[in-house]
Each structure stands twice: as structure tokens, then as C-alpha cells.
Symmetry: C2
């Protein structure tokens, strides 16, 4: 009997009625002849409320304690869902991350899964039960509870699917699937029937809101197809997988964007080896996540080095970079904190000419100035004024509409 | 360094400020040169809210799932208290029942502690940490979470104290200690400085509201002194222990009462062996808890057999008893559901004459009719009209005032 792993996010289990709705969906999947493993998040805003409580008693709660605290939210949901299934006549059992064998390192609040020992899950499946596992949590070798950080429940679901050899990992959420662009910005954006793992990973912040990149990476690694769909209707959703057909792979599949971009330009950097390391190693040590990096090739002996960070990290980044810039003899550091990012994404894009030209053309026609350009194998990104991002996304979505529609 | 186990109930940890107050009390105990292990209940009404949630999704939630659900309440408190201690510069670590080695049987929702493996607790104490343990919960051999039922957190505390060889188990709550009578009924009731285990056990429902009898029994078994005191002030509270001095042991220590008493009298029972078993075995099998049992010695061949149950179990008890009464040839079954119970308690009471006479005299003076009388080694109980219980408690408290004061 095939195994299906389903994951339901916080909004899908926000109250008793929504939990019953999820129970009915699970029973339908089981009645169709599948063994079902379910991973759940904490109900609604539970996690935020627990975090609030923690900050009421301590300014800097220890990560170990915060992890134990937050892990209770998912446990609550597992038990309620098991009860709802029982009430509908379906055998079910709740398991904590520890009971489900989610073994992690001891990096509290951002633990990585080391191993999934799914013996207990398998045992319960063999008894005929639906197995409900608390997402977002695991256990260390010392039997301490950990949480997996951002995207934790998605990651739990895909890791379990990989460990169990599941046919598919279904991520149920409050959106219809992955769209060709963020539907809040582009009303005409349509859900994609399928998308490749890498394209999904390139969708940046919009994509991460749908399924966390960690889970997508894990899916790619173990070749687990991931279906993203709404828990509130029966629309087909989007299948993220590796088998996307060649024709589709050559198309632009989506337009991604990010509104939270700040830029630092170190102007007049001496063009010699070791300069990039001198800047980016200290930034990494300070815990600052650098996104885009662009360095213009120099024909003189000096060059400009530009990189982007999130707006909230700009000041901290400048504290690190300004003294370094002085010590390496750069002319100045310039910042701009009102930027955004817009990208077109499609596997194999670089093998097909003309995409970049069309992208720049569409932005030019909309009179949107491009500040920085970076590209990857499957993505072309422009950094532009934040105020123009929405317009840019719509313009690009329209410019590449034909391809999107053909999917 | 002596080990002290402290237990804080739900009202003592109901919000962030109360948790900080508890943290300060713990630090004072630690600064006085003790190793401190703390057992906590769920915050305020958390448990009730979780039970509500369960009944929103299922009419009859499975005990296994209910136990996992409820166990999260205590875990939340442990982490918040650990964070509050950290914020005050005190090393502390939270442990679940499982981590603290509370091994139980698999009787979900009313599990019994089989063993306490306190290795982890000892390890953390040796590191200099305050160890905070989630009360009310344990783990089975199959690694399933259980709850201990009523009095669970008190029982966890005393069991840990026994396992660790603690000097004392301190139960902090929202009352000042054990009083000579229920202070809500007898305003002049005063807190007792000390009381024996058995007297405490005889205090029935009032005593059980202060410390659960399971915990008192366990304390007696392992000879762990139990201090009951308020977490909101520094009053000394009441020490429950086995070393109460001989003089004190001969006094009436308290007046207990119970307002929830219903009586069934099987009238005209043939006086032959096996009759009591024929009635009480089926009652036990039906899960009905019988309290007082009185059978008048018969001089004819028939006798009356009277017993009491809680009011809510009266109908169910009658369903069991009525057909049995017919089959054994009893004349009839009579019930009275508006009764109450009043007792005087004092160790060694039966070795000192006159107590019963003074009790009956005091009730007679107050014109209170006695329906049933039962006695034990350390207790004399009268069943009376419910409406007169309050008056009876006050009359008895006054009649035995001298003894109480001498303590």
C-alpha cells in the first residue's frame, strides 16, 4: 500500500472545525487505499503566543528552553487531530518528533535533522493507524527537544517521506499552490501545475512563503515529489518534482520578487586578491546574511563592490563594513535602503537566448531603472527601486505570459 | 548539600509575574545552601482549556491522546520558569516527566508511578542547576506520555523527593497550610504548625484540596516530610510528617467535612454470609466509589445495610443495587441525597476516652440529628443533613478549640 505524507500548516488547523475538516481529508486519502502519515504545525497563532509568554519572563530566553516551550504547540495539534479522527471512526495515533524518531543535532532553535528512525511510525502504520507527527521538532542524542527553525514542519514532512519511501509529500496550506507570480501583487497570476525543484528554490521570498527552501532541497536530494495545495478546497495544486518535461523546462515559469532589499556599495576598492574575503568573512561572522553580490570588472586598479542585505540588517552590516572599507583603502561606502528585487525564473534559461533582452526591454518600456543585474543558470534578477517592484512584476508577468499560459 | 523539592501549583504560576515571584523564592532557597528541584503544574486554567479543546473535536477523546495533550501544560510552565531563573542569573534547566525519569504504568489518565530514575536530575543538580520538572506526567516503557490523574503534581514532587533522598518536599499553593477546619466554613480555623500523615489522610475532601492523599501516602511510605505553605507570603505553613510528638498525637487536630454525600440503605437484608460481597463487588465493577459503610448488628435474621456515595453517582449506584436487593430478598432500598459528613480527627483518639461523647454532645446541643456514625483509629465521623454541616463544623471546632489551640 503506498504511503502518503501530508503536512497541514497552522492556518489549516487553527480551530476545532478546521481540525475536523483536516480529519475528513485524511480519511478520504486513506479510503483511497493509502497509508497516511500526517505532519502538523501548531494551531493558528499558538507559536507567537508562546514566544510572547517567553519574552514576558525573560529578555533573552535560552534557546534550549524556548525549543521545549514551542514544541508543545505542535504536540497539542497532533492529539486533537488524533481525537477528531477517532471520533470519525478512523484509527490514529499522535507521535511527538522524538517518538517519530526525528533525530537532530543540538543547535537549539535551528536544529538540522541528522537521521529519521521511523521504526515506531512504521509499526503504527502496520497496525492500520493514521500516524500524526508533530512537525518542527526533533530530539538530540541526549534526549533534549529541539526545534528545526524556519520551515521546520515542511522539513519534517519531507524528511519523513524520504525515510518512509513515500510516494509523495503533500503540503497543505492556505494558498492554492505555487503561482507564476505572487498573487497578492499580480492578480492575474495563475497556479502552476508543476515546477522543478530548482526553479522553486529560485523563487526567493515568495516561494519560501509557500514551501520552505530547506524542504524543497531535501525533496530534491531524495527525489520526493512535493505537492503544494490548499487544505480548504480540492483544487489540484502544484507538484514540485524532478521530472518536469523538457519543453516545460525551457520556459519562464514564474516571476519572483522581494521588497526588503538594502544595498551597500564599497566604492573605489583596490582590485587585488583577498578583498572580497576581507569584507564577507567578517559579515558572515557577525551573522549577517548577504544576498546578491555584484562586482564590476575593473579596467583601472579600483572597482566597486556592491551587495545586498535585508533592510533590518543594514545598520549592523555597515558597522562591520565601514571600518574594513577604510582599512583596505576604499574611497567610501554608499547605502540605499529602499530597493527591491525582481526575477524571472525558468530551468535551462541560459541555454535559450533572448530572455534577458526581453526582461530588460519590458522594464525599460515601463521606464523602470535597473540598478544591478545578476543571473544564475535558471534565473535573471534585477535590483530596482522598491516603489517600482509591483509594477515590474506585473510588466514581466505580462511580457512572459505566453510561456506561462502554455504550461 | 541538602536537596529540597518544591512544588508550585497552577495558581502560583498563573502568569508571567507570578512565575517571576516563584523564581525569586527558588533563588532564596538555593542561596540558603540547598540544591533545589522544582515541580510545577500547568499555568492557571490551562488544563481546563485544553480539555475544552479536546471535547470540541471529539465526544470521547481517547485517554492516550488526552494525556499527551494535557502534558503540554506542565511543560510550558517548566520552560518559562527556567527562563525566569536564567534572567535572574540562576542556572536552571527544564525537564519533562520523561526526562526526569518518572516511569509509570500504561493506565492513561490515571497512571501510577512504577519507578523514578533520577539520573538526569542528579546530573543537572551536580552541574549546579535548579532542575524544573513537569508535574502530573510520566512515560511508559513504550515511551508513551501518561498523566497521573488527580493529585498528580503533588505525587510527582513527593516521588522525586523520595528518589533523591530530599530533606523535605515543599508544596506551595494558594492557601496558608492545613487548617483545623476548612477556613471557608469556619473563619476562626487556624493553620496547624504540624500534622501526622494519617491525620492528614483522614481530613477527607478538605485535606485533599490542600495536598492530595496519594502524595501524603507516598510521603508516609518513604518518610518524606511535606511542608504545605502559601507561595504568596512567608508564613510558615504546615509540616506533614511522622514525628509529631506524643502530646500532640493525643489531641483532636482538626474538623473535616464533606458536603457531597448521598446514602443508600438496603432495608431488611437477610443476615447471612456473602451478602456484603453480593452488593459491593458489582458496585466496584461499575466504577462506583463507596465511602462510608455501616451495617447494624442484627439480633433478628434481618439487618439494614447503609452506604454512602457521591451525589452524582447515586442514580448509577441504585441501578446496580436495586436488582441485587430484590434478588437477595431485601425488603426495599431507600435513598437520601441531601446529606453531609462531619469528622473530628486526631491520632490516637481511640486510646483517649471521651472524644466521641463530646462530639455527640456538641452536635446535640446544636440540635443536629446524627444519621450514621462511623469511626476509625484516628477519626469519628457523623453523617448529618447537608444543610446543617456548616453549623456542625463550627460547633465542633469550638467544642475542641482548647486542644487545637494547644498545638
Amino acid at each position: 500500500m503506498p504511503i502518503i505524507v501530508q503536512k497541514y500548516g497552522g492556518t489549516s488547523v487553527a480551530d476545532a472545525d478546521k481540525i475536523k475538516n483536516v480529519a475528513r481529508r485524511i480519511i478520504r486519502t486513506r479510503d483511497a487505499g493509502n497509508q497516511v502519515v500526517v505532519v502538523v504545525s501548531a494551531m493558528g497563532h499558538t507559536t507567537d503566543e508562546l514566544v510572547d509568554l517567553a519574552y514576558q519572563v525573560a529578555e533573552k530566553p535560552a534557546h534550549r528552553e524556548l525549543d521545549v516551550l514551542l514544541s508543545t504547540g505542535e504536540v497539542v495539534t497532533t492529539t486533537l487531530l488524533a481525537m477528531a479522527l477517532h471520533a470519525m471512526g478512523c484509527p490514529a495515533i499522535s507521535l511527538s518528533g522524538a517518538q517519530a524518531g526525528i533525530r537532530t543535532d543540538a543547535a537549539f532553535s535551528r536544529a538540522r535533522i541528522l537521521e529519521v528512525n521511523s521504526a515506531r511510525v512504521v509499526k503504527e502504520l502496520e497496525k492500520g493507524s493514521v500516524v500524526i507527527v508533530a512537525g518542527f521538532q526533533g530530539i538530540t542524542a541526549d534526549m533534549d527537544t529541539t526545534t528545526l527553525g524556519r520551515g521546520g514542519s515542511d522539513t519534517t514532512a519531507v524528511a519523513l517521506a524520504a525515510s518512509l519511501g513515500a510516494a509523495v509529500c503533500q503540503i497543505y496550506t492556505d494558498v492554492e499552490g505555487v503561482h507564476s507570480a505572487d498573487p497578492r501583487l499580480v492578480p492575474e497570476a495563475r497556479p502552476l501545475a508543476e515546477i522543478g525543484y530548482e526553479e522553486m528554490l529560485e523563487m526567493a521570498s515568495y516561494g519560501a512563503k509557500v514551501v520552505h527552501p530547506r524542504a524543497v532541497e531535501l525533496g530534491e536530494l531524495f527525489n520526493i515529489p512535493i505537492l503544494v495545495a490548499s487544505s480548504f478546497n480540492d483544487n489540484p495544486g502544484t507538484l514540485i518534482h524532478g521530472g518536469v518535461s523538457m519543453e516545460v523546462r525551457n520556459k519562464v515559469s514564474s516571476v519572483a520578487h522581494d521588497l526588503d532589499v538594502a544595498k551597500i556599495t564599497v566604492v573605489g576598492v583596490p582590485d587585488r586578491p583577498g578583498i572580497a574575503a576581507a569584507i564577507f568573512v567578517p559579515l558572515a561572522e557577525a551573522g549577517i546574511s548577504v544576498d546578491t553580490i555584484v562586482q564590476n570588472a575593473s579596467i583601472t586598479n579600483v572597482t566597486d563592490l556592491t551587495f545586498t542585505v535585508t533592510r533590518s540588517q543594514l545598520d549592523k552590516a555597515m558597522e562591520v563594513v565601514a571600518p574594513i572599507a577604510r582599512s583596505i583603502g576604499a574611497r567610501e561606502c554608499a547605502t540605499d535602503s529602499s530597493l527591491g528585487k525582481v526575477s524571472i525564473i525558468g530551468t535551462g534559461m541560459q541555454n535559450t537566448p533572448g530572455y534577458a533582452a526581453r526582461m530588460f526591454g519590458a522594464l525599460s518600456q515601463a521606464k523602470i531603472n535597473i540598478q544591478l543585474i545578476t543571473t544564475s543558470e535558471i534565473r535573471i534578477t534585477c535590483i530596482i527601486e522598491e516603489a517600482r517592484v509591483e509594477e515590474a512584476v506585473r510588466a514581466l508577468h505580462q511580457a512572459f505570459e505566453i510561456e506561462v499560459q502554455e504550461k
